[in-house]
Amino acid sequence: MANWKINMLTRSPWVFHLAAASCNNCDIEILDLLTPRHDVERFGIVLVGSIKHADVLLVTGCVNRKNVARIKRLYDEAPKPILVVAIGACACSGNMFRTGYQFAGPFDKIIPVHAYVPGCPPKPEAMIDGVVKLITKLKNK
């Protein structure tokens, strides 16, 4: 990816939140980031309603056989480059659902993932930390 493009991304990243088959807790913690206690909008991080506006894709939950095609399609529709952050144990590895008949592989088998935030659910602080680490790494590249 061209460096100037990444630099543009890291200034005020707009995020799109994609919940695959999740238990909701990770999604709630993501929404929690926007509310007054953490308030990431201070840093220019905004949750957007359309993937076409997004710089960062936050994915939660495990992929199941029904939504795998939709996830691929959403990723294809996203403007590139896009950074993908897998939030929660489900998105990183499948958690305890990996043995289920409906499980269709962890996220990084479906779409490229740039950062992993493990935890079930990860604390909001951990999510901020994950995004900050990703951005610093990209900037110093």
Partner: protein
């Protein structure tokens, strides 16, 4: 001119909803004339996975059914196992269970108030409610060690004891929540904007509730007084003093009122639990050594209504059948009644009124093809064929 229906799709990845689900609204102009619901985007096959886990491991699995009711499912499950074994748990454990379950109700109802505001485009309510929900999470983190998925229930008792040293902190946070929620309740129930959007919208009569078999706050907002905590007490509910909140209007405002007023009842219960926990000392768990063959049922009043678990054992250390029915499963169909005939702009708030939880519901799906329901054998054959076809194509299965 012939009438034309327009289909408005909501989902499966919709900016407003956090979970994937797919609703089709059939509209004529501004009026909704029908709905359809397509489920399965959130299905993880939990009942099946549960059959491969030992009795002690299942609570960790069932609390991951849903992050918001992450106490109700384990609680219903342990009730089922204790029913199967015929076990009486220590009194201290009962109060700890009640404490956690009621704290969860407070956080869930505040979360709902916030989301309802968000659905109406009234983000001030969203921000307020979620700001004042944080103290409950702080209490949970202190008591159980995690902000969600508490991992506290186990068959025979609870995993972690509460310490008396924490009570002053919990009490101060509770006082904080109480004053804030009082303010919020007044603000929500007096706000002209919210009244205009909520009053008289999505009315469900008591008869509708019976027809759909709806439970929880949805039923109690339509004057149907059902609550598992009173009707079939589990944990410590029969030893505590609290009241069921029932209102009769049956509209969206009534549902908001029930949930807001229940928060105060929950605070009352939590305070009583703390007072009793100071007096009762002793064990918090009895060991379950052996699970005899048989069946057990258990239920718990989740923030959204009755949550039901059924466990069958053949004498080994794993359940051979585990059936789960979440409250949203019976509540979501009432959406059809409340939204059809109304304005399309009210559709989302009607949906929010049910407080639907799709990750709970999607343990179950009925499959129909061309209007006829398929039986188990056909489904199995279709599934095997499809898996083979996918494998042949090289898709990860």
């Amino acid at each position: 001119m012939e009438k034309k229906e327009v289909i408005v799709p909501i989902g499966p990845y919709h900016p407003l909803l956090e979970e994937p689900e797919f609703f089709k609204l059939f509209c004529e102009g501004e009026k909704v004339v029908g709905i359809d619901w397509i489920a399965g985007y959130n299905h993880r096959g939990i009942e099946k996975i549960s059959e491969g886990k030992s009795y002690d491991q299942v609570p960790f699995l069932v609390e991951r059914i849903c992050g918001i009711c992450s106490t109700s499912h384990p609680l219903a499950y342990v009730n089922a196992v204790e029913n199967l074994v015929g076990l009486e748990i220590p009194e201290r454990a009962k109060y700890i269970r009640t404490f956690i379950a009621e704290m969860e109700r407070i956080h869930s109802h505040l979360l709902w108030v916030g989301l309802a505001g968000h659905f109406l485009g009234y983000n001030t309510v969203f921000m307020w409610a979620w700001k004042w929900r944080e103290p409950t999470l702080d209490i949970m983190e202190l008591v159980t060690g995690n902000r969600g998925n508490y991992g506290i229930m186990c068959p025979g008792g609870v995993r972690r004891d509460m310490s008396e040293e924490d009570f002053p902190f919990v009490q101060s946070k509770l006082d904080d929540i109480k004053t804030k929620v009082e303010m919020l309740t007044k603000a929500v129930l007096d706000d002209p904007v919210l009244l205009a959007r909520l009053k008289g919208v999505g009315i469900l009569t008591a008869q509708d509730i019976h027809n759909y078999g709806a439970v929880g706050p949805v039923a109690r907002a339509s004057g149907v007084a059902i609550d598992v905590r009173r009707d079939d007490p589990y944990a410590a509910y029969n030893m505590l003093d609290w009241e069921m909140v029932v209102v009769t209007e049956g509209d969206m405002l009534a549902r908001a009122k029930v949930r807001l007023l229940e928060i105060f009842q929950s605070i009352k219960i939590v305070e009583q639990c703390m007072a009793r926990l100071k007096e009762i000392k002793g064990d918090i768990v009895v060991k379950v050594r052996e699970v005899p063959p048989g069946e057990g049922i258990g239920h718990a009043e989740a923030p959204r209504g009755e949550c039901f678990h059924y466990v069958r054992s053949d004498g080994t250390n794993r359940p051979i059948r585990h059936k789960i029915r979440a409250p949203s499963y019976v509540c979501i169909p009432t959406f059809e009644k409340s939204v059809v005939g109304g304005q399309i702009a009210d559709a989302l708030i009607c949906l929010a009124g049910v407080d639907p939880c799709y990750c709970c519901t999607e343990r179950l799906s009925a499959v129909a093809e061309n209007g006829k329901t398929l039986d188990g054998e056909t489904l199995l054959r279709l599934s095997v064929e499809k898996t083979e076809a996918l494998k042949a194509k090289g898709t990860p299965v």
